[in-house]
Symmetry: C2
Subunit: 254 residues, 2 copies
């Protein structure tokens, strides 16, 4: 049985620890600065909660760092022993961030995780990297226990995935938000857009989204675009124009 320590109590920590636990791996400890939060997660995966890095069990097979990019440095500095294997879970942080250790790698799940929201983890692509072939194999083997989609990827490729994810997830969600605001002002329920959101996503998944761009910008329908702009406040006018220009520019480049 493999013993894993989870550093962090956020969404990634929650989903990864549950997934690993459900696949029969042993979660030894959950570390969180807030002991109560750590205890809550620890209870779910039969682990021990700690809030002091000095209390880390030093014999675990893997230490998974599931903290924000900005908290990583502090955590790394505080780990003063040589772990068997340590990996971070960040999309845009170099694997070399961990090079003070002998055995290290990356274990990046390309997904948006939400607390108390279940999702199929076997479907989540994991981007794996490590400082040696042996460590890569180990991380690959653990990722394969919870997901069918495990990819070996260097820093550069993984960063591109993360960047693409910002467009396809964070930026997309922002537009869902803007759409909600537009509808809310008219007391139109947001779920009127649900079939459109679903179909737009499905269409992109089934076909190349470059080929299915529709709407006034790509048609060059200036009259409709003007009508739209007139309905928006100053900030959203800027956004509308900026995205419309980008649609036209990217279309011309292809």
């Amino acid at each position: 049985m493999q013993n894993i320590v989870i550093i962090g109590t956020g969404n990634v920590a929650e989903h990864l620890s549950k997934a690993l636990f459900n696949r029969g791996l042993n979660i030894m400890q959950i570390f969180g600065r807030d002991l109560q939060k750590a205890q809550q997660l620890a209870n779910k995966v039969k682990a021990v909660a700690i809030n002091d890095i000095a209390n880390l069990n030093q014999s675990a097979d893997l230490y998974l760092l599931c903290v924000t990019d900005s908290a990583l440095t502090e955590i790394i500095n505080k780990i003063t022993f040589q772990p068997n294997l340590v990996a971070h879970t960040a999309g845009s942080v170099s694997v070399n961030m961990l090079n003070k250790f002998d055995n290290y790698g990356v274990f990046y799940p390309l997904q948006t995780f939400t607390k108390d929201r279940d999702l199929r983890i076997d479907n989540v692509p994991f981007c794996i990297d490590a400082n040696t072939d042996d460590n890569l194999k180990k991380l690959h083997s653990i990722a394969s226990k919870i997901s069918d989609k495990v990819f070996n990827m260097n820093d550069e490729k993984r960063e591109k995935c993360h960047l693409a994810a910002v467009f396809a997830c964070n930026f997309v969600n922002h537009f869902y938000s803007v759409a909600t605001d537009i509808l809310q002002n008219e007391n139109i329920p947001f779920d009127i857009l649900s079939p459109l959101i679903q179909e737009t996503a499905n269409k992109a998944i089934d076909n190349n989204p470059n080929k299915s761009q529709t709407g006034p910008a790509i048609r060059g329908d200036k009259q409709t675009m003007e009508k739209h702009i007139n309905q928006l406040d100053e900030d959203l006018k800027v956004l509308y124009n900026c995205v419309s220009e980008s649609i036209i520019k990217q279309h011309c480049k292809r």
Copy 2:
């Protein structure tokens, strides 16, 4: 049985005529400037294809104008008789565009239609408007035959739906496109993003997207944002900054 004439041969014409035909309504004629295209669609719904407005059968119960906004005026000008009822299918065109007729309205499906791509039409919200209560009832009754979601909406509300749809569909698809380009340059298959795209859409449908915004912009994670910007070309840098600024601004307003 109700007799319907479809003006247009594009995606909306295709999906609406098939849906109406499948629900037992009689599609009398399909008009298209390109007779061959009109014939292709007419064959699918047992209709007669025409390419001259002068040949319109004048006894139909409803004439559905499924043409681009810019082609509407020309078509309207060419219809010189008084139709029993005529409706356009555009999101951003006033119902009054048709006020030279006695009986008119709007029959707007809030969905993105793609040729040869099936979708559940019963799930598609229809936004209905008309110049009289009687005409509104007629259009409502026909829309209800193909969809469970029929809404009466005036110009202003419908235009807001269309504007929201541009954000939630066209703009979203553009970001899928940009993400594809980013991945393609690294030879990473686009489908690595499929679970993320699906989950982002599902999450927005299940919860208010305002509450689930994640990513570097909303976290104020300038280091990651800078890394991202450094990986983009000049045009995409502008887009990235513009959307990130908008995420921060809209967040502050809420």
